[in-house]
């Protein structure tokens, strides 16, 4: 039992110090009927590293890693190249095995990272302030809506049909239990929607996503101004944070709150988690924010230092009146995000974003040239929707058999709907050969379907 340092002799001498006969005596407050007589049944006994590696290695081997084949999956999780430096640094024990920095004198490392992270997120989103992270983009989105409810003292959110349906579902789940109204618009894969028409004097916020779940990019400046004129806030959701390296940021469009997924920077796909929720707001709303905030101050010697601050918003102080019940956030994923963004820098982030866009344009053109395939997007960043002449789910299965992960069928996100639509994401990791292989395989699969 390699994780347990006590020896039998230690245990005996400690029991003597406690004046207890056995360890079992220490469990005497447990009702007798609930005390197990020995190790729990139905589970194996302890194993060495080698055995654990074999077992878990066998499970891992049953999966098809996205990096092993041409992969074009997106829809809220993106495969980007993560520099080796990132994973090396996040595994430093001083970051990995530290707790939340409640003791600032021995946590300046984590605190300075958070301060820098908050600044990076504020710069990328074009907002005034950002917090120290949330669980993921979807929970950020739901928290943004609840924050808008608090600020406006209204209880209705209008959710764009372009909002990722999982984000929509997390928000409507909260709406049901927390007690607010969430009006979800139907998905609009090809066109716009009139959100403003729905805004009334009960509306706390309108939630849009940019680029939206179908890949469309839009300028929401007019919507922001119109919402604010009616006393409502504009929440902008971003699921592909790299798009912030190229597109006009939500802050410049007038967004009041930005809720985003930061996985694209520094974090692997991990089958969906852990990821890192980004949350940024206008200055005037800071005290209504959920989550931890790190602030600059000085120490007893007058030297610059950092502390967690404005904690009276949080559950450990305000309890049932807290702005959110969140405690643990995504600290280490935020660190990975921050290191990756630091490595990229201004020049790197611009170029990486341009590279993603350019490759997506190339791929869109290649797919649009496949007979029967129609591109639905005028404007997009690194992801777009194509219409296929047969159900996308079957096509994707067929592509997987040819060892190509050819995008996400829209019906996976909207069961029973839009079965002919396919979402395709392209990143810097996709080579010319990947793109050719995808287009060729799709041509073949669709061609096989056309009667002779």
């Amino acid at each position: 039992m390699r994780y347990l340092p006590l020896t039998e002799a230690d245990r005996q001498s400690m029991l003597e110090a406690i004046r207890a006969e056995t360890v079992d005596v220490l469990f005497r407050d447990v009702p007798e009927a609930a005390r197990l007589a020995g190790p729990i049944g139905g589970l194996p006994n302890h194993m060495g590293e080698l055995e654990v590696e074999r077992l878990l290695g066998a499970m891992a081997a049953k999966n098809l890693p996205a990096g092993a084949v041409p992969s074009f999956l997106g829809a809220g999780a993106y495969r980007h190249h993560v520099p080796a430096t990132v994973d090396h640094l996040v595994q430093r024990g001083e970051f990995l095995t530290a707790y939340t920095p409640y003791q600032p004198e021995v946590s300046q490392g984590t605190l300075q990272v958070l301060f820098e992270f908050q600044t990076q997120v504020a710069l990328l989103t074009g907002m005034d302030v950002a917090n120290a992270s949330m669980y993921d983009g979807a929970t950020s989105c739901a928290e943004a809506v609840m924050m808008a409810n608090r600020i406006t003292r209204r209880k209705k959110a209008i959710l764009s049909g372009g909002l990722h349906p999982h984000y929509r579902d997390v928000t409507t789940t909260d709406a049901r239990f927390i007690g607010f109204e969430a009006v979800a618009m139907p998905p609009a894969p090809t066109g716009g929607e009139d959100l403003l028409a729905l805004v009334d004097d009960k509306t706390a916020c309108v939630v849009v996503q940019n680029p939206d779940v179908f890949g469309h990019v839009r300028d929401h400046s007019d919507l922001a101004a119109a919402c604010q004129a009616k006393g409502a806030l504009l929440v902008v959701v971003v699921t592909e944070a790299l798009s912030l390296g190229l597109l006009t940021p939500p802050g410049d469009m007038g967004a009041d709150i930005v809720a985003a997924e930061g996985q694209s920077f520094g974090n692997a796909l991990n089958f969906g988690g852990p990821y890192v929720g980004l949350f940024a707001v206008k200055d005037k709303y800071v005290r209504q924010m959920p989550g931890r905030l790190c602030g600059e101050t000085v120490d007893a010697d007058g030297r610059r230092g950092f502390v967690l601050t404005l904690s009276t918003r949080e559950q450990h102080i305000r309890r049932e009146k807290a702005t959110s019940n969140i405690c643990t956030n995504s600290g280490l994923c935020a660190l990975a995000f921050s290191i990756h963004v630091s490595l990229l820098g201004e020049a790197g982030i611009t170029r990486l974003a341009q590279l993603n866009h350019a490759k997506a344009v190339q791929m869109a053109d290649r797919l649009a040239a496949v007979p029967g395939v129609e591109l639905l997007n005028d404007g997009f960043f690194n992801e777009f929707t194509v219409k296929l002449p047969k159900p996308a789910a079957a096509v994707v299965e067929d592509l997987a058999k040819r060892r190509i992960l050819g995008g996400v069928p829209v019906s996976r996100l909207y069961p029973g709907e839009m079965e002919d639509l396919l979402l395709v994401a392209v990143t810097e990791t996709n080579t010319e050969a990947d793109m050719d292989a995808f287009a060729a395989a799709l041509t073949e699969i669709l061609g096989a379907e056309v009667p002779a």
Partner: protein, 523 residues
């Protein structure tokens, strides 16, 4: 209110020309403690830490959106970035470097095997929306983890979706509400929460639209059963109780508590934050619990990472098993299947964008397999033994709040400091100079100036002895009337006490470019 004497800025000592007034060195560095500016203060335009290929020349297709002019990020080369974060890391205390007895946080050893397993490409490089046929191993891992959690708790069902403990609480309370609503019972508007609860419990109940009613504790630090019974009624939806509780004590009356809650038609939610005390030795189902979250980042040693990520699976008894969120893994005809949409079933909704914290699942299962049933039995035994040993060795110089035995953590209050001028906070800061992370302070709220010590099973006796000896000596020193020593602590850290009042009065929450700062000043 003793938390408010933290900020005590003092004048900077006069320095010799060119030398730092605090450290006496030219650079302000102090040997291995190296000062590190903000990353934004190390910018050189055009410099980068990545090499990217040429961007293909294509006409951009951004629709109506304009490309942005710039972001404002600094440019650094790779070696600078490595050094920046390495130096920052060296300003942190961590389990890897020392004893971290934070009560209620379970800061135990984080095995590196778990890190290695989580990084296998078959787990880390898998997209959540890949065809299910290409992720059978990932679903098998989730299924295995679910099996372990159900077996260890004796419960009927589990959801892996919640991202952390508080998120699990939310999930559990939503399930309770969904179950009441499914029966058409909408009269239940209250959740009972003991005074000693974690702040997340009342915050969660309130977030789910319930009124929170506090239950007092008895003199022996446990829920007052009679007071509880008096509050139970047709308006109570459930009870949220931490067990072992936040005083480190097992709720002796727990079975009677569960029976009373059930008799009132309410559900029993257990905050599983302290599961480490009993894992492998006691099954929560045998205590009458209906629903409980499990902090994988506590009990099952996934790293805390400076504040996250966590993972908060929730186990459910039969009565609540239908009311879980999507997604979940099922055994299909053709291998494992994934139910991703609630459809018309009783699933109450969705908690998170995708399937839960997969990276944490791998680490937790790797930990469980390493320990096995026999190892977990020994681990909880050692966790409880270590806490009782610390309590036994300190109770003559400090004041234990309640009589033992304790479970995995022991609680002291500040009566032993009465009249010394030294507070719980001062004591904690003096421990930092001795090379220890402080215990949890001022929590739980049911005793004055709480000091909650959780050693965990991964500390050796030698490490406990060193900690106890230091704490004993400090307690004696406090009683001898040397308050000034404590009030000036810590002295040996990268930063001394920080001015939290100034930070909260005029919050500075981000770096601002010098030009912008000047422009603001000129207004």
């Amino acid at each position: 209110m003793s938390m408010n004497n933290q900020g005590r800025p003092s004048a900077i000592p006069a320095a010799s020309a060119g030398f730092d007034g605090v450290t006496g060195t030219v650079t302000g560095n102090r040997g291995l403690q190296i000062e590190e500016p903000l990353i934004f203060e190390q910018d050189s335009a055009g410099r980068t830490g990545v090499d990217l290929p040429e961007v293909p020349k294509v006409a951009s297709r951004l629709g109506a959106v304009k490309p942005r002019a710039g972001v404002g990020l600094p440019g650094l080369a790779e070696p600078q970035v490595v050094r920046h974060y390495t130096r920052l890391s060296q300003k942190n205390y961590a389990i890897d470097s020392g004893f971290y007895p934070l009560g209620s946080c379970t800061m135990k050893h984080n095995p590196r095997l778990n890190e290695k397993m989580a990084r296998l490409p078959g787990f880390s490089d898998v997209h959540p929306l890949q065809p299910v046929s290409t992720v059978q191993g990932a679903l098998e891992l989730m299924d295995q983890l679910a099996y372990w959690l159900k077996t260890l708790t004796g419960m009927a069902a589990v959801t892996l979706a919640p991202a952390a403990g508080a998120h699990g609480e939310m999930c559990g309370i939503m399930a309770i509400r969904a179950a009441h609503e499914a029966r058409g019972d909408k009269a239940r508007t209250k959740i009972l929460v003991p005074e000693s609860a974690h702040g997340t419990n009342p915050a969660t109940a309130a977030a789910c639209g319930y009124a929170v009613d506090a239950i007092p504790a008895t003199a022996d630090g446990r829920v007052d059963l009679e007071a509880l019974k008096a509050k139970l009624g047709p308006d109570v939806a459930g009870l949220m109780l931490t067990n072992p509780n936040t005083c480190g004590l097992f709720e002796r009356d727990i079975i009677a508590i569960a029976e009373a809650v059930h008799a009132a038609g309410a559900y029993f939610y257990c905050d599983g934050a302290n599961f480490n005390a009993i894992v492998g030795r006691v099954r929560p189902a045998d205590l009458g619990i209906d629903v409980m979250h499990i902090n994988l980042h506590k009990t099952f040693s996934t790293p805390h990472g400076g504040g996250g990520p966590g993972s908060g699976p929730v186990v459910f008894a039969d009565s609540l098993a239908p009311y879980i969120p999507v997604p979940y893994v099922t055994h299909g005809t053709d291998g494992f299947a994934l139910v991703e949409n609630a459809g018309d079933g009783p699933a109450f909704g969705r908690m998170k964008a995708f399937h839960g914290q997969m990276g944490m699942f791998v680490r937790a299962l790797s930990y469980m397999l390493s320990h096995g049933a026999d190892g977990l039995w020994q681990a909880s035994s050692d966790a409880v033994l270590n806490a009782n040993y610390v309590m036994a060795r300190l109770q003559d110089v400090m004041t234990a709040s309640f009589e033992g035995p304790c479970m995995h953590e022991c609680l002291f209050d500040d009566r032993f400091l009465k009249g010394t001028g030294v507070t719980t906070l001062d004591m904690a800061k003096a421990l930092i100079d001795e090379g220890f992370h402080p215990m949890t302070m001022y929590f739980p709220l049911v005793v004055h100036g709480a000091l909650l010590i959780e050693p965990t099973e991964t500390e050796s006796k030698a490490s406990l002895d060193q900690f106890v000896d230091a704490l004993r000596a400090l307690a004696e020193r406090a009683k001898s009337g040397d308050a000034a020593y404590f009030q000036a602590a810590p002295r040996l850290t990268p930063r001394r006490r920080l001015d939290e009042t100034a930070a909260a009065r005029k919050p500075v929450l981000r770096w601002t470019p010098p030009v912008a700062k000047e422009a603001v000043a000129a207004e």
